[in-house]
């Protein structure tokens, strides 16, 4: 039994496909990640799965209910932590939780018990009666996690849960998310554009780019696709001729050019570096630097999309700026 079933889900905005026929299933109590750059369609997907946005086409089942025909049942069984903060900053932490619990029809005894539990879980018991306006970014995030979880949802959606938080706070939030998943027996879907977050947290990762899922598996298996280690050679001149000389070598599993870099994957890369350098020397190609590393999700992303996630983000930022400029001109 899958907790979430997504079949050919598509969303168009004015003819542009933000989400393009994606399909995936999420198992019970799985921690499932959707990884992709800004503008890839992650938030749009979450908004559809949480009934806030109507899909253009496709079928989605959450906790056994169709999101198009059974919105209320879906809403009853999900908790959501949105990308942007969604707390009432004029209320105290506890009041925010009470508001939520009452909206989900929890009776007084259960409400008080659960509020106490979730506050302890995210270690905010002492700050419960402080007005949220005075919370730090990390505390707000924790409160939202607690709130999304208070009514014991079957599925918890986390849209970029650590966006804009410092490294230490992110680590903490990760631990809370893991704890929720393990101890709370809740299925979690999270979106992120942080590779390390997806790698550390998620049982399975779907890589999404331009509204399409380009790869989906456990992060280990995704890395295995690349085969062994990655040796990255920085070359100023004539990458192509080096590629020509290398393409017949059996021990090179794959070869990809990216700007001034030639990325090779192979077993036991550290043993092969001298050979690579001597080949380059023989044909007169200058290698500026050599880098060897175990594959990360970053490499997987590069492998499947031909771009690094940071480049994608950069493009998106440029695009946003362009839109803003146009708006101002109007």
């Amino acid at each position: 039994m899958f907790t979430i079933k997504v079949e050919n889900l598509t969303k168009e905005f004015n003819g542009v496909r933000a989400v393009n026929s994606i399909s995936f299933n999420v198992n019970d109590v799985e921690l499932f990640g959707i990884l992709g750059p800004n503008g890839a369609g992650k938030t749009t997907t979450i908004n559809m799965l949480t009934t806030l946005l109507k899909p253009t086409s496709g079928y989605v089942e959450v906790a056994g209910y169709d999101i198009s025909n059974n919105k209320d049942e879906v809403r009853r069984h999900i908790g959501v932590v949105f990308q942007e903060p969604s707390l009432d900053i004029n209320l105290t932490g506890k009041e925010n939780l009470e508001f939520h619990a009452m909206m989900y029809k929890m009776d007084k005894d259960e409400r008080e018990k659960r509020i106490k539990e979730v506050l302890e879980l995210v270690e905010l018991t002492e700050k419960a009666d402080v007005i949220v306006e005075n919370y730090s970014g990390g505390m707000k995030r924790r409160l939202e996690l607690a709130r999304g979880f208070i009514h014991k949802p079957k599925v918890l959606f986390l849209d970029e849960p650590t966006l804009g938080l410092d490294t230490q706070t992110r680590r903490h939030i990760w631990d809370y998310i893991k704890k929720l998943n393990r101890e709370g027996n809740v299925t979690i879907i999270l979106t992120t554009h942080y590779m390390d977050e997806a790698d550390y947290l998620c049982d399975r990762v779907a890589i999404i780019d331009n509204g399409k899922i380009v790869a989906m598996d456990t992060s280990d298996k995704l890395k295995d696709v690349l085969g062994g280690d990655i040796v990255s050679l920085e070359i100023k001149n004539d990458i192509d001729s080096l590629m020509n000389h290398l393409k017949d070598l059996k021990w090179i599993e794959s070869m990809k050019k990216h700007n001034n870099n030639l990325n090779l994957t192979m077993e036991r890369g550290e043993k092969r570096i001298p050979e690579l350098v001597s080949i380059a020397q023989r044909i007169g190609v200058d290698i500026d630097s050599v880098n060897l590393h175990k594959p990360s999700l970053e490499d997987v992303f590069l492998y499947f999309t031909g771009k690094t996630i940071r480049e994608q983000d950069g493009n998106q930022r440029e695009r946003n700026r362009e839109i803003m400029r146009r708006r101002v001109k109007k």
Binding site: E73, S86, D88
Partner: protein
């Protein structure tokens, strides 16, 4: 469909926010009281054409200023949905298993209560400067009118908020909707002196009947029968609430 608990929770939230924001209460009371004090004392001994001889200007003005306060606080309450959208809290409300109509009714309940409390405060403060309430019945009846005025304009605020993307158009609404509604209502002077065509426009303004009704109840002078004011105002509040709920239902959350 209509969810009593959700309406109560949303109402409770408004109350908590209202009681906590003491400066906001003072702030919203200041403008009406300044109007009342300066216009009231300034024009008190002037002969204003169209006014009954036995009514002085301050007495005439008090119901008008209550109407003004109701108009402004209620419109703000309706439009405050925009701030919830801006601060993200609207999403939290919208993913809850609660019908849209209950969300609208909850906000209207909250907004009506806070606006009516402010109206009553102005009425009580005006007692200090010599205003007299005829009796308990008139007081209660005036509260009914305040609730109806408030519901009408929260509904109108909802219609605007649902059709706006962000808070940028807000000052436009103040200048092009709220002030005209206020001036057309006869809150400051008898409408009899206005050119006929403006008077006809003022008949389309629900606040005209609100102010006229309040004046009839509290002062004893009115242009229309109080029952007519009541019927028109009740009708307008129903229509505005329904239209507001409809626009809210149709608007995008994200």
């Amino acid at each position: 469909m209509i969810d009593g608990i959700a309406i109560y929770v949303l109402w409770l939230r408004e109350m908590k926010r209202f009681l906590r924001a003491k400066s906001r209460i003072v702030g919203t009371l200041t403008l009406p009281l300044l109007f009342l004090a300066f216009l009231g004392f300034g024009f008190n001994n002037m002969a204003i054409p169209g006014m009954q001889k036995n009514v002085n200007y301050i007495t005439f003005l008090v119901p008008g200023i209550i109407g003004m306060s109701m108009l402004f606080t209620s419109m703000f309450a309706g439009i405050s949905v925009l701030w919830d959208r801006e601060f993200g809290f609207l999403k939290e409300i919208m993913v809850a298993p609660v019908s849209r109509i209950s969300i609208v009714l909850g906000r209207i309940a909250g907004g009506t209560t806070t606006a009516t409390i402010q109206g009553i405060l102005i009425l009580l403060i005006s007692l200090i400067i010599g205003f007299k309430i005829p009796g308990v019945m008139s007081f209660l009846l005036s509260v009914v009118f305040m609730v109806l005025i408030s519901a009408t304009f929260i509904g109108l605020g909802f219609i605007f908020a649902s059709n706006m993307k962000d808070t940028q158009g807000f000052s436009m609404i103040i200048n092009f909707v709220m002030f005209p509604l206020f001036f057309l209502s006869g809150a400051l002077f008898p409408l009899q002196n206005l050119p006929l065509w403006i008077r006809y426009i003022s008949y389309l303004d629900p606040l005209t009947y609100g102010v006229d009704g309040l004046r009839g109840i509290l002062v004893g002078v009115s242009s229309f029968p109080i029952i007519l004011d009541f019927v028109i105002l009740a009708g307008s509040s129903l229509v505005m609430v329904l239209l507001g709920a409809y626009s809210f239902e149709k608007s995008d959350v994200v």
